[in-house]
């Protein structure tokens, strides 16, 4: 994953344009069945309109001495996202109203955009900005805003059932790592993990799109289908650093996907932090809109807004995101998917307690701390009433889903228990 993130680093991504397009084509080398779609600029999507396509050739700023101050070939955050083209000379005093910097993080180039209001601008570190001498500055922002299209990609991995799990991530952020190269990279890994599963219970719909307008476009084009089929969704964002785990639940906070996610995070990192719905800030705003109601969660590492490098050039692949960070982000979501795929409702086949000793189950039930105990085996068995699921039993006993599954496997192998799949139902939504 870290390797893929490095490969994607330089593409000058935005809501639209060739940087975004190139990123999706690059991803398709890892995901052969990825479908790439183009939607014409000017298309109405819900309450919004797809804006003109934006492409950047290069943006530069020279100081009065003719030295280069900003150059997007050094760092593509130097240009205001969706900046209109501008070429000319301006006095520093006039230039200032087109410059963006962060006094509180003086070494960082900030990530700033102006998608829906035409402006030209350049971004630079406050350190550099505060040393700018008076005089005339040369500006060359070589961008185009033109008729074209918005690009997104999706992938459908069919399962035994037509009910779908939606996995969505966004691909519009330029060179930043946790927010947001981690999302596309981990999602690619999840797609390949899911493809490798021999018998998927659910169908998986995986979407790579620019944030907000891309999600709105996807919703607009697939509204009835998504509403009917999607039973749960993951928003994959901020899954790349190794500092913590964070959770944004569904709006109502009590869907099956919330229960599953909390179980995973509680056992993976008990100190994980759960945020309220009012702290949402990504594509759950669209997919969980009150007219749609898809229950979408975000299992994250350091959440957007909450870490110091957020939305600056400091959010990079050296200091912030690591191979372990990405792996941990992947693990959390993979485990949640595993529970959705594997949860069952077990039912005892014996009237009273099974006799463990004549089956040598006092020793054969496994090696782990929890699973080795015949008491644990009987504890799980005592809940096999055909109503509770393996996950519910795990939560009642305060042990891991995987441990309950291993104990159930032993009980099943000895014909002491039979199990039915525990499926996501409409009432889980």
């Amino acid at each position: 994953m870290y390797q893929l993130a490095s490969e994607l680093w330089e593409y000058p991504r935005s809501l639209t344009g060739d940087g975004l397009r190139a990123t999706l084509h690059h991803l398709s080398t890892r995901l052969p069945d990825l479908q790439i779609h183009e939607v014409a600029t000017g298309t109405r999507v819900g309450d919004w309109t797809i804006p003109k396509e934006w492409n950047l050739t290069r943006a530069r700023l020279w100081n009065p001495s003719g030295e280069l101050v900003c150059d997007t070939q050094r760092n593509n955050l130097h240009v205001l996202g969706y900046s209109i083209p501008f070429r000319g000379e301006v006095e520093l005093s006039e230039l200032q109203s087109h410059l963006y910097s962060l006094p509180e993080v003086p070494t960082a180039i900030p990530y700033v955009t102006s998608y829906y209001e035409p402006r030209w601008g350049l971004c630079l570190s406050h350190e550099v900005r505060s040393k700018l001498a008076n005089g005339r500055y040369r500006v060359d922002i070589d961008t185009r805003l033109e008729v074209g299209s918005l690009t997104y990609a999706d992938l459908l991995l069919p399962g035994e059932r037509r009910d779908e799990i939606l996995i969505s991530t966004y691909v519009c952020h330029p060179s930043m790592a946790n927010n947001e190269l981690s999302g596309p990279v981990v999602t690619t890994e999840l797609a390949n993990y899911l493809r490798s599963l021999p018998n998927r219970r659910y169908t998986y719909r995986i979407v790579f799109a620019p944030e907000t307008i891309g999600a709105l476009t996807y919703l607009h084009l697939n509204f009835e289908l998504l509403k009917q089929r999607v039973r749960a969704a993951f928003n994959v964002t901020c899954v790349g650093d190794d500092r913590t785990y964070s959770f944004l639940p569904t709006r109502d906070g009590n869907h099956q996907i919330d229960t599953v996610s909390r179980h995973v995070l509680r056992h993976l990192y008990p100190e994980y932090r759960e945020y309220p719905w009012s702290q949402r800030g990504s594509d759950e705003r669209q997919y969980s809109a009150p007219s749609v109601g898809i229950p979408m969660v975000s299992l994250m590492r350091s959440k957007y807004w909450e870490y110091p490098e957020y939305h600056t050039s400091l959010d990079d692949l050296e200091q912030v995101v690591s191979a372990q960070g990405l792996q941990g982000g992947f693990e959390a979501i993979r485990r949640a998917i595993d529970i959705l795929e594997q949860d069952t409702i077990p039912l005892t086949r014996t009237i009273g307690e099974p006799m463990l000793s004549r089956r040598d189950l006092y020793s054969s039930v496994g090696a782990g701390r929890v699973s080795s105990s015949p008491q644990a085996l009987l504890d799980v068995w005592s809940y096999c009433d055909g109503k509770l699921s393996a996950l519910e039993i795990a939560d009642i006993l305060k042990i891991r889903f995987e441990d309950v599954k291993r104990l159930l496997k032993t009980l099943e192998e000895h014909d002491l228990v039979t199990s039915q799949p525990r499926l996501l139902k409409s009432s889980d939504i």
Copy 2:
């Protein structure tokens, strides 16, 4: 309100009689459509019987030196409520068993009654009582207990629906202010406020009656009608001082009127105190009786039993009740009524989030702290699912109902949301 309280101060009110009658006629000068009713003494009302009508001409006590010790023309609390007539001379030792005073509040004349057991008596401050010298005292209690009637009044303000909100207060207490001139005075103000509303959603039934026996009489005469129509009720009592807010919920504590009341009080005075049902002590004992089941609440300032001047001559218009106190009592109930009248269930009209920028909603959404934020607008919008009400959204977001309504108004004006009334249902009762 304070002016009206002063005007009503002197009437010698009791369960029945001319003081009560005069009070109700005085109120009818402010409430032209108030209906005054008389019910004959001796009438059975449920398990009770309306007692004889009691009227006081004057009650006096002279000490052995011929000086006036008590005189109801100075303070009508000096006579035991419902005292039988008595004229004669008695030794101090005999007199003592007919005197009532409060050693723990020595400057106060206590309020004492003996409605259902014939007794004669006088009330005085413990300070005065403890200085009474031995000797013969002259007593002249000029009262009458006679065939007559119990007087009460009511008023119906029709609304769009026949479902009713009941507002009840009691008018049997003589010269005391918080408990209980504040109730009739605030209720009069509420009646005029309700009359001024252009489109009342509900019908309002407003009752002024003596406590307990008056409420029983009203219930008895209107049992089926009240049971069928009344959806929620306010008991208006102890709404005149400015020291605190208190809440007595419905018996079950989980009706819609409880939710509304707690919302109002939490935002008006977060330190308000909620009392348990076992601390009830007013007409909810009748209206919420298990055979009737009207969900009645009391939003109060200092609750009966809980303030030092309670049921004494110290509960007056100078030290205890104030214009601000009355206004605050009125405000709490008015806000609760406003929520009942105005609560709606909003539903989004857009598929995804509305685009605020193209509507200039980043600045136009108002001036207040909460309402000015586009985030607050989107937070409210994200709950507009056609199921939750404005009040429920306010409680989820921990903001005021009025703020949610203002934000919804903005969303409605931009055709982003449509709303249906949220009506009290049988299940709210």
Copy 3:
């Protein structure tokens, strides 16, 4: 009860055999209608098989000097339960692997069994064991493992309804007092108490059987009948000492029998300890198995596993169990049964509050602290809505069921309230 426990002390009880048989026949002298049953060894009961019948004549161990070290005629715990017969001489080193003692409780002979794995063995105090000198020891374990039967007993006390309450205890433990002579002894007292009730609401099924295999046998032979009829069950165990109260709820913890038990224990001994289902360890493992689902509780004094003398010779009738301890164990279960038998759903007959004064109820309502208050009478009355039961009212008011019943009796005697029985329903299970 203490006397009966003394009489039963010496019988050499086990899962099967003459000690068990003699114990049940002894109990039948106190319970004339007790039915004693024999089930052949080798019978399959669910997942288990009834083992061979075990009988002990005597077991002895002599040291190299020819002195008796262990003799079951001194204490029948000296032999390993279900020990195979053995006669011979062995070196101390070899003998050690057949000896059982408790280093942490050095003065106690431990209670050890090997029901399902053939072994010979002897139990002794660690104090004695650690002084054994080297040399040859003579062993004479005179036991028989043979075709025969498992013995159990039951008793049916019919009531007005065919719905049953099951009371189960176990009779397989040799000479130990709290666990477990207390169970059979208290159960006998409960049976006689129930027989003395003039109008039993429910039918009572009382079972005396060896633990686990006995319960499994009973379940196997009566599966459909138990599943259809039993509405609640008590497991009577560890009810003999006077140190504390303990509670093991049903598996789900929210059945009516849990509510009843918690009410009893809260008022009897507020510091009682509730254990989780994972700490179960008696016949609820069978009767509450997920295929059966009988809601069974244990109201105990010191719980098995939790007191220092547990499963040793120190659990005796002198130091651990007392007449008061047994009486307290009996009381807790009796009170729970009384609530099941007596709970009602009261309904007011008056529209508003009853008038207490004209019935002299201010003084006539009893002498106790709670019941003497007219406020308590009105508090209870205010919940008589035909929905809540006396027990629910008691829990709301935080007073005892008996006090609510006494107050309801007063209200019923004055025709102010009528009551219907509150019956255990399927939904309580």
